[in-house]
Amino acid sequence: METKQIIAQLPYSPPFLFVDELESVTPEGITGSYTFPKDAFFYKGHFKDYPVTPGVILTECCAQIGLVCLGIYVLDQGTANAMGIGMSSTEMEFLKPVYPGERVTVASEKVYFRFQKLKCKVKMYNTDGELVCKGTISGMFKTPEDDK
């Protein structure tokens, strides 16, 4: 599956799509990037007069690239149809702020994919190659077969 096909299958749309492109993908891991638009909706309130990308949004970006894109590739369903995807747990550390307009790269490494649960170790870097955040994200992937 090509990386463009993976992105096309993502069940998100702006303003809640946090994937621009995927640089590489294998069954063991994935790398992708995203540029936070300067006018993204959350900068208006986080923080007042001091826009910084919220940690939950960084986590979401890590999850969309590192967990969901990888999951789509691993499952290779052909159609994603917002197949039941549920984030089940996250454990994140935030090391550096990400400001409006910054481009980040997420690298994710599969820990395991068993019984429809994908667990990944994710790392996000800024354009200087500095580690912005890291952690572990897990999610459950329900395939259409499960409903039969």
Partner: protein, 86 residues
């Protein structure tokens, strides 16, 4: 006797996945992982993976589907251990 030992090992595995409001003492043979112990399906996967490591066995999808209660889990562990030794 062996079964008691396995129950103790299994209870030890379950313990970190129990929600705060479920006491470890309430775990018995008839406990249903999801309905009685309030363990979600994602944590149940981790329990299964810990069981695999602890007992050196491998569970398949159908075992996962069948593993509803603590008793089911012990039966599957016993069966898989026996298969391994055979």
């Amino acid at each position: 006797m062996e079964n008691q030992g396995q129950l103790a090992s299994l209870t030890k595995i379950i313990k970190p996945y129990l929600p705060d409001d479920v006491a470890i003492e309430s775990v018995d043979l008839n406990s249903h992982f999801i309905e009685n112990l309030n363990i979600n399906s994602a944590n149940l996967v981790d329990i299964v993976l810990d069981v695999e490591d602890e007992f050196d066995i491998r569970l398949e999808n159908e075992d996962m589907d069948r593993m509803q209660t603590v008793k089911d889990a012990l039966e599957i562990i016993a069966l898989k251990t026996k298969e391994k030794e055979a």
